[in-house]
Subunit: 251 residues, 2 copies
DNA sequence: CTATCATTGTGACCAAGAGTCATAATTCGC
DNA sequence: GCGAATTATGACTCTTGGTCACAATGATAG
């Protein structure tokens, strides 16, 4: 049965990826070796290289899956019913929930994004990776367009939609990167990084006069609303996950 | 003469670092090999390892120098005579000039900051690296403190000085990271990344009501002023550098 | 059921690069 | 100039990414 064989190979590939991901998260980029994957999965290196042209190929595949998952979550959030700025907040909430729910995925993306890793990845795969980001970017951009159309936002003198998008993106991305070791956060007295990023985004949106301003609308309430409806499932799993992490042993 | 020998060894170490830096920038992290440095400098690998405990040691040393240089430039800029927000703008201008003047340095910092590289660096060196960032962070934080003391700024309801600092930092850092390949900027229609970052920072500062607001004071003029006085030398070299880059061949 | 062909799996093997160390060369203090 | 200390050397090991000729397996035809 040709179909059965096909299925078997698919499962085998998934196994490679799963083990690769575990090694990457457990022992870092250098802890992930093709020989180890082969040994653990009980296949030979040759078989592994039969599917993935090189280590980077495998690792980019892992990253693609993370990005795909995030994209789908953000895309879903963008459909929140509300004014554009509320929907932007929904995207932010989704991004935060994704990061809280799958911090390993954020780390995978962070590891893979580094030049030292990326420089060995062929161009074709790199653009595959970037496509996800472009998609998220355009998601945000069209929301800003809509806000302008809606009369909620007027572009600042020398600003453009893409500028604003870029600034929000940089803020979120830079913040995530700082959380993952770019800055010694605890030494700097930053305890609530996610909150700080969210607040930063609101400052920025207030700064361009995107209505309703945070002084006009209670965005904590909006966030709560989003968490209780659109992201109900994710929010539940986040609180489960984080409560487990905070109390590993029973009293 | 002991001094002469000492001097000779110092020069040798500088040579190692210079060649290492060249290889790193020319051929990426994997293009930089200890054997190549040894071959080019006409020393043996043993001698090289006599000075640097490992490849990462050398590479972190390179990064430290970049950070030190940037820190000194930002520290200088923070002394600009003006109200706190103007001085913050001066820091921003300095950061931009540093990045424009030494884009290679930004790239070195970016390469070194990656987890795949950092994971092989012993903790002691990592904290040495982080100290520079902490310094810049506190530079910014004390400026915000001063703004509050001065009555120019009132902290938003749930915001803290560190939050604001963190947000500005993330925005700048994330933007720089995007410029270095995190985002396909040209495909997204972003042409003036530096401007976009600067504008983003102003939006953010306006958003928290940091006076004088950008509607009250012409910050383009402030920036120009900074470039013509505090950063006169750097600005001149930047324009030289960039005009050379833009017209590589004579007409 | 067997012969043939195509697909998939294997592990010995190679190359490259990080890091080591016994030994050689050099320099310094006297 | 001589012994001690410092510095330089490059052959060597070890790890890891990647290859390839060959073996095993399974599908198909007669």
């Amino acid at each position: 049965m040709a179909n059965g064989k096909q299925r078997e190979i698919e499962l085998r590939d998934e196994l490679f990826l799963r083990v690769g991901r575990e090694l990457l998260l457990e022992d870092g980029y250098h802890g992930l070796t093709m020989a180890r994957i082969a040994a653990i999965t009980q296949f030979s290196k040759g078989t592994l290289y039969n599917r993935f042209t090189c280590k980077e190929d495998l690792v980019v595949e892992l990253a693609c899956r993370c990005r795909e998952q995030r994209l789908s979550m953000l895309g879903h959030a963008a459909n929140f019913a509300g004014r554009p700025r509320e929907r932007m907040v929904a995207i932010g909430e989704a991004a935060e929930h994704f990061a809280r729910l799958y911090p390993e995925n954020i780390r995978v993306l962070h590891i893979i994004g580094a030049e030292a890793v990326l420089e060995k990845v062929p161009e074709a795969q790199r653009s595959k990776l970037k496509a996800y980001d472009e998609h998220v970017f355009s998601l945000m951009a069209s929301l800003i367009d809509e806000a302008i159309l809606h009369g909620d936002l007027e572009l600042p003198p020398r600003g453009t939609v893409r500028d604003i998008c870029f600034a929000l993106w940089s803020l979120v991305d830079g913040g995530a990167s700082a959380m993952l070791g770019g800055l010694p956060l605890s030494a700097l007295g930053i305890t609530d990084s996610f909150g700080a990023i969210a607040r930063g985004c609101h400052y920025l949106m207030d700064g361009i006069g995107w209505k309703p301003l945070s002084t006009e609308l209670n965005y904590s309430q909006v966030g709560k609303n989003i968490r209780e409806t659109l992201l109900a499932d994710e929010a539940k799993r986040v609180s489960e996950r984080e409560s487990v992490q905070n109390s590993p042993a029973k009293p």
